[in-house]
Subunit: 268 residues, 2 copies
């Protein structure tokens, strides 16, 4: 495995139900480790524990404490083995403390029928890549706070990048092109990370800063086609110190391959 | 407690972390017990176990086996007690078998700030109640299959009731007025049930029949105002034998009080 993502999300089986991993500091943001990356590591362990059902269908992650760079353990507890899918509980721990607890149903996406696809959602309207604004143009101090921005190429549509120059649109919506910096094509487990890779959509509402995820549920619906992904983040319900954030990931074949909804705390 | 819902969702504490309940056959549909009702019973137990944090903020339910009318037990396992919210795991069991396993974060909705509400979602356009079609007009055989329809008044917008006469709109969207048959006003835990009360939106796609929920995550965002609720069910991503279904619940004060997304299997 020569790709950065494979190395960084790698797990090693240490017993029937436990896996060891090393959380890579390159995925930190604002001093913590990105939640999507944590889901990717946890999802890799679940995938290895279920050889017949290697792909996430749905995964619900609750973030209990802040993860740091360094050793971690994933414990997978089977709850319902099934013929077409399996449901498990999984926990990511560091120093005996649970960072992330999850419930998940995994299966084999390649085995699903393909003749019944009926998507009324529309792919995001996104300017051609050469007209978009790369994350690498972010100011030096932003990139120092968010080393994970070096892990991927993220090209923002010009219509939703006003926040970077102090002029947020106020709409509560981001769209961007996305691919891993190492050129590796996405697979289903990788999409767990992709669903939480963009900055919080509250930046677009003029509320920059860290927006801690309370819970994130990811649906992965198809094996993504190789190539660039398109991502949309949007919120429609802000209030009570929290907001809901919906993410959609579209592949190069125009399929809505993953969706997520999270409940997060508004930046202070 | 004189309301039907309170009686049917009642739980009794049997130890520090366990509660007994009796699942009421009046909430069955197609031979099983409605998933939303199960979430309501489980949510009632979690609420009783967390006196400082009685309201669901977010709850993710995975349905492992079909529940039946009769005795059940709910076990609540604290995962992270907090100042403003608490995260728990909870399981609903019958005869030692897990019917429903859940992760949830509960808190106190009444304590949240109310000056930061910024909702860009729009309430459903719904005909006045006297122009809507009540669920009680469903044919006798449908009502026999779905006794739970007697538990609430559900008034469907005329635009999305074609499926009942063999002319589904094909849009994949339902809107309806809703209130409990016993006249009781909704509270936050009750909303867990409301989010799964409408028929599967696949009826509107010309695919009637049982659509088993794999997973449902509910966000409850505010204490609902008394009176009628308005509910929307919609799907935007059907394929691979599954579909995503989003539900929104609006209260009489025009607040989006609850949202859910579920992954369900298409009816065969």
């Amino acid at each position: 495995m020569s790709f950065e993502w494979d190395t960084h999300a790698a797990v090693e089986r240490t017993s029937a139900d436990t896996f060891s991993a090393v959380l890579d500091g390159g995925w930190s943001v604002g001093g913590g480790i990105n939640g999507g990356y944590q889901m990717g590591v946890l999802g890799t362990a679940v995938s290895h524990s279920l050889p017949q059902h290697p792909d996430p269908f749905v995964l619900s992650a609750y973030f209990l404490s802040a993860a740091t760079a360094g050793p971690a353990e994933v414990q997978v507890t089977p709850l319902r083995p099934g013929r077409t899918s399996s449901t498990v509980r999984a926990e990511l721990r560091q120093d005996g403390e649970v960072r992330l607890t999850a419930l998940a149903t995994f299966g084999d996406l390649a085995s699903l029928p393909t003749d019944d696809v009926r998507v009324t959602a529309a792919p995001p309207e996104l300017a051609p890549r050469e007209q978009c604004v790369p994350g690498s143009m972010a100011p030096e101090e932003v990139r120092r706070l968010a080393p994970l921005m070096e892990r991927f190429e993220m090209l923002f549509d010009p219509s939703c990048i006003g926040w970077a120059v102090g002029e947020p649109s106020g709409v509560g919506r981001f769209t961007a092109w996305f691919r891993l910096a190492d050129g590796r094509d996405p697979d289903p487990v990788t999409l767990l990370m992709v669903l939480d890779a963009l900055p919080p959509v509250t930046f677009d509402l003029g509320r920059p800063g860290w927006a801690p995820t309370v819970e994130l549920t990811a649906h992965v619906r198809a094996v993504p086609a190789p190539g660039w992904l398109r991502i949309t983040h949007a919120t429609r319900n802000v209030g009570g110190g929290m907001f809901e954030e919906d993410c959609e990931v579209w592949d190069s074949a125009d399929r809505l391959v993953a969706q997520s909804r999270q409940l997060a705390k508004l930046p202070r």
